[in-house]
Subunit: 122 residues, 2 copies
Amino acid sequence: MSKGKVTHYTNIEAVEFGPTAPGAKIRVLIDDEHDGAPVYKLRMIEIDPGGHSPDHSHPYEHENFVVEGKGQVMIEGVWHDLKVGDVVLVPPGTRHQYRNAGDTTFKFLCGIPVDKYMQKEK
Amino acid sequence: MSKGKVTHYTNIEAVEFGPTAPGAKIRVLIDDEHDGAPVYKLRMIEIDPGGHSPDHSHPYEHENFVVEGKGQVMIEGVWHDLKVGDVVLVPPGTRHQYRNAGDTTFKFLCGIPVDKYMQKEK
């Protein structure tokens, strides 16, 4: 059963991604496991200046909204500049990477399907 | 087939809700019909000072992130103050309403499932 939730995103723990994404942290704002979200997980990604996510691909999409800072997203080899208020759809199965392009933390929302609706590797 | 997308949210048309939500507009940032979003529609709701959404309920959830201004959300009769950076999960089947509580436009992201994953009225 889904429970309601009202909180500030900074009240949710920021966890380091690890060596494949230097300078990057993630906060899981809403998910299925803890919150009973039916179809979608909402996460905040925070990348320090000089940091980036891995150049990778997976069978599920990303839906992004830029909240703070300046960055770039690469989709299928093409880099796009990102500023606050930009919206990004990275389609399933598409090569992509994010990086900070400024001197403050680059923060963006990143939604993905919950596990039961996630397209799996073939 | 899902297409990629990178744009600023203000490049997407804001449409008035109509008489049940005075002062409220919606921009559909990412959806299934136009963008091929697999599971989730991302919308921006913008409510003018004094405006509000209807007091209503539906069998699908809302996932919100507050982007600008001050507002309030009612969930099952309880009002919660909202500021920039607040995260809200309104569970499926829950009575809810949003209203502007400041003197500037109150803007928040509002995600819902695409039609094929939307719980229908019983």
